[in-house]
Symmetry: C2
Subunit: 241 residues, 2 copies
DNA sequence: CTACCAGATTGATAAATGTCAATATTTTAT
DNA sequence: ATAAAATATTGACATTTATCAATCTGGTAG
């Protein structure tokens, strides 16, 4: 009944999948599960591979599964009327994604799309329901995760509604460096349009602000590669609005 | 051990307080609690009265309590740099308010302020922790409530970032009628500044849009009293952006 | 009743942001 | 390698929104 047994259930994935998905030292909401519960979770889950650009979950479809991203980078998009879209946040390795409507209307409230190649697992929502009922520590962890994500998104959106474009671009660059890529020259793999969609401005406006920052010596840019040269300047611009 | 016993614990409030706060036919996340659990929740809670304009909870203070609004209207504010503020939503009777940071950093992420006179109860956060641990149905209800509120706020903010002012004002008017006051000529009790803060625009701009709507015969306005004459027009403007 | 005060309204103007079209650059397919 | 397509950049201009100052309004203290 050790982890070995659990791993065998999923025949598709060899490396860090299944039980060990969530057993790599990173904090995880699954840490609190017993072996049996983990086995329940992992049984019948499906392992899926997405190419860059593919849609993982589509807004307004039925939310029968949650998704665990195992490898790669994905973006969470709120789609509005017309082709307006707002990228709410990026998702890197080892996150659980519910699509927003879990426990309520079972409708997804955002679209999730692969930025790079993405490997992930689909788990039945029902399993999550079961675990919330049977394991209060798990419910607690899920509450924490939800709250943390929502506060982050909220702060982000409040910034977008209250700051001028340079402040928003500063916030985005700092977010990318400090919360997503965790290193300094970083390769976003994101198009200008996608970066603009993270700040709620047009691509042209975004490019102009980026150019200003380049001319001011605050950053250097090479394709999708960004190097922050003067982080303090960005902090200042962010605070000033 | 009936409800009477529980009610006696709180000596301050006579009418629909304590156990009966949440026993009036409205759905409530407390419905799933046993009598004993309700008693635990209600013991040591404090009943507080606020005058219009007073701050109930202040952003960035420690989140040692949650608040149940029993009567009156309150607003939830995200305070930004400077005096910038964004009113995220209004809160009417019988809602539980956590201030946002529950279970995470125990810091409040918004300010809650009374619009009219407000009566509410303060409950120790610890009690909520205990109940989440001991009653999985309660954890579930709390998850649902959180998700519902967050999706609503998110949709609202996405609208604000993607629509021009007339669309945002339309959304606000429809929100006030359909989700807060639930009747048609309705008295908001909110100043022009507060209404503007709900749409992330300046007071002057808000007044101008309101005037346009008046001239177009879509609404009539008398002080803080608003009458929606042509809801379809508002829906149209909302959709169009 | 009168003078005051806060909130509401209006107008003129400036600033921020978006739109559209032209051009440059990079990527992809052949 | 070369052509075609997609993405990025730039510029001129239009639109949206904010800012600032002046005026109006209704309520209230004296």
């Amino acid at each position: 009944m050790g982890p070995r047994r659990i791993e065998e259930v999923c025949t598709k994935c060899k490396d860090r999948c299944c039980a060990r998905c969530f057993d790599d030292g990173e904090e995880s909401i699954f840490d609190c599960l017993t072996k049996d519960e983990l086995e329940l979770l992992v049984k019948e889950k499906r392992h899926v591979h997405f190419k860059a650009g593919e849609t993982i979950l589509k807004q307004n479809t039925s939310a029968s599964h949650v998704v665990c991203v195992k490898r790669g980078l994905a973006k969470i998009i709120a789609e509005g009327n017309g082709d307006k879209k707002l990228i709410l946040r990026l998702v890197a390795t080892h996150s659980i994604l519910t699509g927003g409507g879990l426990f309520i209307d079972d409708i997804r409230h955002f679209t999730i799309q692969a930025v790079t190649e993405v490997e992930c697992c689909f788990i039945d929502s029902d399993k999550i329901y079961e675990l919330v009922s049977s394991n209060s520590q798990f419910a607690f962890e899920l509450l924490k995760l939800n709250n943390r994500q929502n506060i982050q998104m909220l702060n982000n959106l409040v910034g977008i509604t209250q700051k001028y474009m340079p402040g928003r671009v500063s916030d985005l660059l700092l977010y990318l460096k400090n919360e997503i890529f965790l290193c300094n020259p970083f390769d976003t793999r994101l198009s200008r349009q996608e970066l603009a969609d993270m700040t709620s401005m047009t691509m042209e406006s975004f490019i102009r602000i980026l150019k200003e920052f380049k001319l001011a010596g605050i950053i250097s840019v090479e394709g999708t590669n960004i190097h922050i040269l003067d982080e303090e300047a960005l902090n200042l611009i962010s605070r000033k609005g």
